[in-house]
Subunit: 340 residues, 2 copies
C-alpha cells in the first residue's frame, strides 16, 4: 500500500529565510515584506537568465546571513527553476561550496525542495539543508511564450510569471516554525492544453493532493489557519474550491492563493494572477513567514503547484500534466504530527 | 562543519531494475545485457521526445514487473532527464499513480535519484522508491546541438548521447546489492566552455567528489572491485585519472567509464564515447548489476557526472559547471558502512 502523508517524527525548523524580488513585486500589496528588490529587474547582469541566477545567489546569501550561517554549515542545497536545464540554479549557486541536488518541479519547486530538505534533516541524514528557487518574468517570457519585444497579447486566464527568488534553511533545532508533515504530489493530467490557462491545468493536481491529505488525516480544512496554494491564480483557485466542494471538502473560508496575494490583480494588470517558481516561494518566505512569526497564522498547509509541460510538448499537441506538493507548517512543536 | 559521506545505517537494497535501449546500444559490446531495444529507436511514438518518454514508461514497467511490484507498492518516483522542462519524465511517468519528485542532474541524474531514494528508504520515511532516467540521441541532438538533418560534424572530443532508459526499485529489505553510502557532489566549474568537450567540463567535478570520498573514508581505490564513472568518455577519463594522481590517488587500475563501456568507441564511431542520462543508468542497470549478481564485482563506487549548462548559457558565453554524485554499492551487508 502506497504511503501517503509523511509525518516527520522530529519536525525540523525553518531556521532562516531570504528573498529578493523585482520592481513589480515590490510595488504590489506585499512589497513591504520583501528583503530586497531591484528597480531595473536586471540585478546588475547582462542577460535575463543571468539576472535570475543572480537572484538565487542573493536570496541564499541573505538566508545564510539572517541565520548567521556560513556555506560550510549547509550539508546540501536543493534547488531548481523553470529555465532550460535549470541553469538559474546551476549557475546561480555554482559558487556555493555545498553538495547540490538539482530539482525540477516547475512552479511547485520550493515545496519539493522543502519536502526533501525537511525529510533528510528530520531523519538525521543531514544536519542542515537549503531549499532555493527563482523565476524571472523576462527569462520565462522568452522561453515559454514570446520575446518581450514582440508584445504578444495575453488572454484573461494568463498568469504573470513573478520575478523573485527565495531561499530557506532547514535545521533540526527546536524553534518554530516547524515542518511537521509533507505529502508529495502525483502527476495529474486532465487534458488541458491551453498554455495560457495554467491555473486550470494545475488545479486538478491540487485537488488530488488536498483530497488525499484530508481523507487520510481525517482533519477538516477549518482546523488550519490557512491553506495556501501557489500558484493557481484566479481561474485555478475557483476550479480548486469547486472541485473540492464536489468531494465534500470546503476550503473556501481558509483558502488563499500566492498568485493572488503577490499582486493587485486588476491594478497591476496581471490578468489571472502571479505564477512561476518565485511566486509561492517569495510569498512564503516574506509574507507567510512573518504572519507565522506574529502568530497570526499557527498551522498552515502550503500546497505549491507546477505544470510539467514545455513549449515543445505543447507544439507537439500534448496536454499539460500538473503536480502539487503539500508541506504542513506549524508554530507549535506539540502537534500530534510530532508523534505520528 | 559540512557533512561529507552519508552512511546509510540500514543500507537499502536495489530490489529490482529494468532498462531499454536503442539500436546502436543494442549493437554495442553490452548489447546482450539489456532487457529490450527498438530497432527503429522510435518506440512506436511520433516524435523523438515522446519516444524518450515511452522509454521511461517501458523501463519502469519492466522494473516493477521484474520485482513483482504494482505501482501502488511504490511510495515515490525520483526521475529526471535532459530535455527542456524534464518532459521525458513528466509525460513518460504521468500515468504511474505515485508521488513524483522531478530531478535535474543532467547526466548524473540516476545517481541523484538513487541517492534520494536510498536516503528516504533507509531512514524509513518511505518503504520503497523508484529512480528513473533516460536520454535519447535524437531528442538531445536537436535540443543541445543541431537537428539531425543538418548533419553537423562532430569533433573527436564530442560524446554520443545514448538512447536508453533505466529504472531502479529501492527497498528496505535484506538482499544484496545494497546502497551503503552516498556522497552528493558540489557544482564545480573550471572554465571549460566547449560544448563538444563535456568530458573535460565534468571531470573536475568527479575529481572533487572522489578526492572528498577518499580523504574522508581513508580508503584506497584498490579496496574496491571497480570505480565506475559516467560519462566522462575518453577525454574526461584521462583527465580524471591524471588529476587524481596529482592528488596522490591512483584509480587507474580499477577505473571504468560507462561512456566507454557502452559502445565500441572506434567501430561504432562515437568519438569520445557515450553520454546522456541513459548511458550510466543503463550500464548500471544491465551490465554492472549482472556483474554484482555474479559476484565478479562485490564493492563498487558509481560516480555519475553531469554538465549543468544549456544551449542558451553557452550562447551567452558562460562556462560549463559540472557535478558528480557518488553511490557506493556493495554485495555484503556486513561492511563497516552498515554501522557507520
Amino acid at each position: 500500500m502506497q504511503k501517503g502523508i509523511i509525518r516527520l517524527n522530529n519536525p525540523p525548523s525553518i531556521a532562516a529565510t531570504g528573498n529578493i524580488v523585482g520592481k513589480k513585486e515590490h510595488e504590489g500589496p506585499l512589497g513591504k515584506y520583501f528583503d530586497g528588490f531591484d528597480e531595473t529587474d536586471t540585478f546588475g547582469m547582462p542577460t535575463w537568465e543571468q539576472s535570475e541566477s543572480e537572484m538565487q545567489r542573493l536570496a541564499l546569501n541573505r538566508a545564510l546571513d539572517s541565520g548567521g550561517y556560513k556555506i560550510h554549515d549547509i550539508d546540501a542545497i536543493f534547488a531548481g527553476d523553470l529555465i532550460n536545464q535549470c541553469t538559474s540554479s546551476g549557475y546561480g549557486l555554482a559558487n556555493f561550496d555545498a553538495p547540490f541536488f538539482g530539482l525540477y518541479g516547475a512552479c511547485s519547486t520550493i515545496a519539493e525542495g522543502l519536502m526533501l530538505a525537511s525529510m533528510t534533516v528530520s531523519s538525521g541524514l543531514l544536519n542542515r539543508a537549503a531549499a532555493v528557487t527563482s523565476s524571472h518574468n523576462c527569462s520565462a517570457e522568452r522561453q515559454f511564450r514570446y520575446p518581450l519585444e514582440y508584445g504578444g497579447q495575453r488572454p484573461p486566464t494568463a498568469q504573470w510569471t513573478a520575478t523573485g527568488s527565495a531561499a530557506f534553511i532547514i535545521e533540526g533545532h527546536n524553534k518554530p516554525p516547524y515542518i511537521s508533515e509533507v505529502l508529495p504530489g502525483r502527476v495529474t493530467d486532465k487534458g488541458i492544453n491551453d498554455a495560457n490557462n495554467m491555473g486550470a491545468a494545475m488545479a486538478p493536481a491540487a485537488v488530488d493532493t488536498l483530497k488525499r491529505y484530508f481523507d487520510e488525516s481525517g482533519k477538516s480544512p477549518d482546523e488550519f489557519s490557512a491553506i495556501f496554494t501557489g500558484d493557481l491564480g484566479w481561474e485555478g483557485s475557483g476550479i480548486l474550491v469547486d472541485f473540492l466542494r464536489a468531494e465534500g471538502i470546503d476550503i473556501a473560508r481558509v483558502h488563499r492563493d500566492c498568485g493572488l496575494l503577490l499582486y493587485d490583480r486588476i491594478g497591476q494588470d496581471v490578468h489571472a494572477g502571479g505564477s512561476g517558481c518565485g511566486c509561492s516561494a517569495t510569498v512564503l518566505s516574506a509574507y507567510i513567514m512573518k504572519k507565522l512569526a506574529d502568530l497570526e497564522l499557527t498551522d498552515i498547509l502550503f500546497v505549491a503547484t507546477g505544470a510539467l509541460m514545455s513549449p515543445a510538448s505543447l507544439q507537439q499537441g500534448l496536454t499539460i500534466p500538473g503536480v502539487a506538493h503539500l508541506v504542513r507548517i506549524t508554530m507549535s512543536g506539540s502537534t500530534e504530527a510530532k508523534n505520528g
